[in-house]
Structure formats: structure tokens, C-alpha cells
């Protein structure tokens, strides 16, 4: 039995390409994973090529053609496919441009949060003692503050802008990463292979970067993708409350907030950006789910 397996492995010239092929194959098999990748891919394309794709300038107002319904409804024109808002701005163009900020804020805030959480979590878990105490009590304090309220206050004091928004969103969501990374670190550092690294005389930095980090990164990536979804929604909530993205910048959350007043008479103003958020978030979540299965060591071979 042993021999058979070995032959199978040896006959393969390059195990790395084989592994990649296998992963691609499994992705095709997972329907939700595929759907997630397609959605995320198209939203990214939309954000990158917004100036090419958008039929109108998203900030251009046109009072004559305000609150036009989508093209398939009575009164709608094919010029404005998804209709216009209260200032006569083209909703499709605004959604296309809005993807830029929504995605950018989502990804940048996750990077900020992930970096802080990863570093502090590794330090707390690996060194323990006083480091652990200080970092984890900070985490507890942040968890005890109502997030939205805290973010509103910071944004109100510092003035709303995209960098502030990213910092505020990142600065409050790193705690999840820190807790997760710390607990994974605690379990990984007791494993024999970490002891073996100490036995060969490896320094702490090497042990953390080569032994602990690669072994906690898979859960980290999964949480990060799911967090992109949460942050897009948080950004929408903040913009909705008026302290997020400020005009003339446009984000989906801001559009949602603009459309609120017209929901009874002109439903399309708020519905389409809302749909954009839902679809993107679903795509990211599907992608995260697939990644979680894929990075699980038990799934390998």
C-alpha cells in the first residue's frame, strides 16, 4: 500500500504545478466559490475601469431629468438605464464610480485592521505575560465601546474624509484579528515543530515569521475576506448617517442615504446601490467560504 502511494508521487515530475491544477479544479467544482470569484472579479473590473464604463459623469446634475425611473418602466429612457436621482444624476454611473470607494475603503481598512491585529496578536500570543496583558486588555476595552457611536464621534471631531474613514474603520476592527491570531499563536507555539526550531537555535523573529505566521495565516485570510464585507456595510452605515463619504465623492452607502427620502415615490434611487452592496458582499463571502475550505490542511490531498 505504502509502495503504491510512493510510486504515484514519484512519477509526478512537478508536485507544485500539480497542486495548483488541483486547486483550480476544486474551484470549478465549488459553485459558490466560482460565483464568488466571478462577482469579485467583475466588481474589481468595474472599479478599475469606471471612467471607461460609466456613461455619465457621476456628479453631473441635470434638473430637467430628475428622478427618472429605470428604462423598462413607463417614463424611463434607455439613456439612463437605471434611472436618475433627485438631482438628475445617472444612477448606473454613480454605482460604477461608487464601487471604487466602497472597495477601496473596504480593502484598505481590512489591511490596516489586519496588520495591527496580526502584529499585536502575534506579540501577545508568543511573548505572553505583560505584553499579553496590555494588548488583550486594550482589546477588551475597545470591544466594550459601542463601535458605531465611537466612529461617529471620531469622524465628527476629525472631520470626515476617506483616510480618516479608513483609519477609523481599521482602528476599531483590528481587535477581532488580534484575538484570533493570539489564540492560534498560543496553540501553535506549543507544537513540537516550534520546539524543534528552538532546538536548532532559531531566533524569535524567525520562529514567529517562519513557523507561527504561516500556520495562523489561513484562518486570518478567511476572517479578512469576511471582514471586507462587514466593512463595506459599516462604511455604508456611516455614509448613511452622514459622516462617511462626502459629496462629490460617491459611495454606495452615500447613495443609499440619498435615496432614503424618495423610497416611497422613486424606489430605484435607493434600491440599486443597496443591491450592489448585497451582491458584492455575497460575492466576497462566497470567496471567503471557499478560501476557508481550501486552506484547511485536511482538504489537502
Amino acid at each position: 500500500m505504502n509502495v503504491v502511494i510512493e510510486e504515484k508521487v514519484t512519477s509526478n515530475p512537478n508536485p507544485v504545478t500539480k497542486r495548483m491544477k488541483k486547486q483550480a479544479f476544486r474551484l470549478l467544482k465549488s459553485k459558490t466559490g466560482m460565483l464568488g470569484i466571478i462577482i469579485v472579479f467583475f466588481v474589481t473590473l468595474m472599479a478599475v475601469f469606471a471612467p471607461v464604463l460609466a456613461p455619465f459623469d457621476p456628479a453631473k446634475t441635470n434638473v430637467v431629468s430628475r428622478l427618472l425611473p429605470p428604462f423598462w418602466m413607463e417614463g424611463g429612457t434607455t439613456e439612463y438605464l437605471l434611472g436618475t436621482d433627485n438631482l438628475g444624476r445617472d444612477i448606473l454611473s454613480r454605482i460604477i464610480y461608487g464601487s471604487r470607494i466602497s472597495l477601496m475603503v473596504g480593502i484598505a481598512a481590512v489591511i490596516v485592521a489586519g496588520a495591527i491585529g496580526m502584529i499585536l496578536g502575534l506579540i501577545a500570543g508568543y511573548y505572553g505575560k505583560i505584553f499579553d496583558f496590555i494588548i488583550m486588555r486594550t482589546v477588551d476595552s475597545i470591544l466594550a465601546i459601542p463601535t458605531i457611536l465611537f466612529m461617529l464621534i471620531v469622524l465628527a471631531v476629525l472631520g470626515p474624509s476617506i483616510p480618516t474613514l479608513i483609519l477609523v474603520l481599521g482602528g476599531t476592527s483590528w481587535v477581532t484579528y488580534a484575538r484570533m491570531v493570539r489564540s492560534e499563536t498560543l496553540s501553535v507555539k506549543e507544537r513540537d515543530y516550534v520546539r524543534s526550531a528552538k532546538a536548532i537555535g532559531a531566533k524569535d523573529f524567525r520562529i514567529i515569521t517562519k513557523y507561527i505566521l504561516p500556520n495562523v495565516i489561513s484562518s486570518f485570510i478567511v476572517i479578512a475576506t469576511l471582514n471586507v464585507a462587514t466593512i463595506i456595510i459599516l462604511e455604508a452605515s456611516l455614509s448613511f448617517l452622514g459622516l462617511g463619504i462626502q459629496p462629490p465623492d460617491v459611495s454606495w452607502g452615500l447613495m443609499l442615504s440619498d435615496g432614503r427620502q424618495y423610497i416611497a415615490t422613486s424606489w430605484w434611487v435607493a434600491t440599486f446601490p443597496g443591491l450592489a452592496i448585497t451582491i458584492t458582499v455575497l460575492g466576497v463571502i462566497f470567496l471567503g467560504d471557499w478560501l476557508r475550505d481550501e486552506l484547511d490542511p485536511k482538504m489537502k490531498d
Binding site: V9, R195, S196, A199, I200, G201, K210, D301
Partner: protein, 324 residues
């Protein structure tokens, strides 16, 4: 032949402090290792056996410097390891290496074989680039692995092959002493023999000294020159392999030998099996730690701690009533 001691262990102790209780803190000391004295000679294999929880693995980790001793000293080539700075200790690690029990958990799953075996050389800046790869390939050949396996990950190997990777990793720094912490217990019996033979071959070729930790006497019989028996953090008997098997002096060693199954039904006899459990090391029995389970225990055993002494040339025993 007069042998030189490469490792001297003097009065080594390791106590783990445990805290219990929320309001009133109760601290209990677990005496994992409680006063060990022994030498390891250059080029020999010293087997250390004992039941689970007797402190044999802790001893191994203390020798390797993975744990700090509570008390006592370890001299490696006449140098006290405890007085070395962190940096000196890291360098001393080159001479003291370890092979772990479980080859499934002792190799970083995210590294290739090349990285795993080459890492010690990289860490100590001994080789890089092409030379590093050559050395890794040489090490792989030494332990019976092939060059084509360089880029594989540990999960692509069987237990025995993984253990070979672990051995190659330990050998990379050309150490003088290797602590084998139950190095074969997790493997299939057929693979155990292969690995033991490999270890013996390497010892002959490279002049290695082994401290071979195992939980049963039969496991170390094949490979050891001398065998030490531990009980509850202490060495109770230490002697040449054949002498331990033929003339055990401590009742515990005797009992361990009696508990070895004999694969011949005709030779079966009434065993004097040890009764009871190994006592809690945080609350060891008074006097001789073995007395509650010892068939020969007397009042003296209950009160007085037996001295660990050389009762016959090169035969150490800690017992008031050795089985002479």
C-alpha cells in the same frame, strides 16, 4: 577503557508551579525532575526509561535548554550551560540536538523538505545558495531519502520518512549529542527497527552520543549501552544494559522487567506486577517514592529517602534494600 563524560548532570531539578483557586491562591509544586545525577559518556547511547509522568521528557528538554532548570547544573564538555547567555546558548545548540517523538507534529507543515533540513544551516549561517542545497542533498542521502524529494512538503511522506527528515534536520549541525525523545514510539513496529538501525549506523559513522528516552525497557534494549530507570522525577537505577536486564537491583526495575510480555506461552510464569498508579508528583510519598507500590517496603522505606549510590562498580541504585 576509561570513558570521558560529555554531559554531566548534577542535582538537576525542575519544579512546575501551578496556581489554583480564584480568591485564595493555592500554589502547588509539581516536582517533574527532582534531583538527578548522572553522566553521559562520549559516544555511548544512554537509554532513559520510566512510566508516563516520571520526568524523562522534561529531563531531555532540560538538557536541550528548552526548559530552564529550577536547580542544579548541566555541564556539557565541562561547561555549565546555565551560565551561558542567550546568544551563547543558541550557539551551544549546535552541539545538542533533538529528535522528537511524533514525526507528524515535529515538522513545520508549511516548509518543504529542503527548507526543513537546510534551516539549521541557514540559522547558523553555515551555508547558502548552491552549497546549502548540496549539503541538504548529502544529508538526505545519509538518512536514506532521495534528491527528488527536495521540494515536497511533510504531509506527502509516511511516518518513517518524516522521522528520517527529522533526523536529517538534527544532523545538519553536526551535533555531538542527540536527545531522542521517544524517537520511535510513534512509528509502526517494522519502521521502528529501520529507524533504530539508521540511528545506530549514524552513531558509528559520525561518532554521536545519544540520550535515548523511551517508556519501556524493550524499546531501548536494542540501542542502549547503558540504561537509566526513572521513577517520579528521580533516577532509581543506572547501569550497563546487560546488567540491568540480568541483575536488576531496584524492585522497580525488576517489576518493569517482569511486566514485559514473553512471546512464549511455555515460559509464562506468575508475574509480580506493580500495583497501583504512579503517585502524583505534586505530592510524592514520604521516604522512598516507590514504597507504596514496592513489595519489599519496610518502615525505613516509608521514612527515609534512599541515597542514590554506586553499589557496585558502575551500577547506581537508590534503594535501601537492593535485590542483591
Amino acid at each position: 577503557m576509561e570513558q570521558t563524560a560529555i554531559l554531566e548532570i548534577k542535582n538537576l531539578k525542575k519544579h512546575f508551579v501551578m496556581t489554583k483557586g480564584i480568591i485564595k491562591k493555592n500554589t502547588t509544586k509539581v516536582r517533574a525532575v527532582d534531583g538527578l545525577n548522572f553522566d553521559v559518556y562520549q559516544g555511548e547511547t544512554l537509554g532513559i526509561v520510566g512510566e508516563s509522568g516520571c520526568g524523562k521528557s522534561t529531563t531531555g528538554q532540560l538538557i536541550l535548554g528548552l526548559l530552564d532548570a529550577t536547580e542544579g547544573n548541566i555541564y556539557f564538555q565541562n561547561r555549565d550551560l546555565a551560565v551561558l547567555s542567550q546568544e551563547e546558548l543558541r550557539k551551544a545548540r549546535r552541539d545538542l540536538q533533538v529528535i522528537f517523538q511524533d514525526p507528524y507534529s515535529s515538522l513545520n507543515p508549511r516548509m518543504t523538505v529542503e527548507e526543513l533540513i537546510g534551516e539549521p544551516l541557514v540559522v547558523h549561517k553555515l551555508a547558502s545558495g548552491k552549497k546549502l542545497r548540496e549539503e541538504v542533498i548529502e544529508l538526505m542521502k545519509l538518512v536514506g531519502l532521495g534528491e527528488h524529494q527536495l521540494k515536497r512538503f511533510p504531509h506527502e511522506f509516511s511516518g518513517g520518512q518524516r522521522q528520517r527528515i527529522g533526523i536529517a534536520r538534527a544532523l545538519a549541525l553536526k551535533p555531538k549529542v542527540i536527545v531522542c525523545d521517544e524517537a520511535v514510539s510513534a512509528l509502526d513496529v517494522s519502521i521502528q527497527a529501520q529507524i533504530l538501525n539508521l540511528l545506530k549506523k549514524l552513531q558509528r559513522e559520525l561518532g554521536l552520543t545519544y540520550v535515548f528516552i523511551a517508556h519501556g525497557l524493550p524499546a531501548v534494549r536494542h540501542i542502549s549501552d547503558r540504561i537509566g530507570v526513572m521513577y517520579l522525577g528521580r533516577m532509581v537505577e543506572l547501569s550497563d544494559r546487560d546488567e540491568i536486564f540480568e541483575k536488576p537491583l531496584h524492585p522497580y526495575t525488576q517489576a518493569l522487567l517482569d511486566s514485559v510480555p514473553i512471546p512464549d506461552p511455555k515460559l509464562r510464569k506468575e508475574h509480580q506486577l506493580i500495583e497501583g498508579e504512579i503517585p502524583n508528583p505534586s505530592n510524592p510519598p514520604s521516604g522512598c517514592h516507590f514504597h507504596p507500590r514496592c513489595p519489599y517496603a519496610t518502615d525505613r522505606c516509608r521514612q527515609e529517602d534512599p541515597e542514590y549510590r554506586e553499589i557496585m562498580p558502575k551500577h547506581f541504585v537508590a534503594c535501601h534494600h537492593p535485590l542483591l
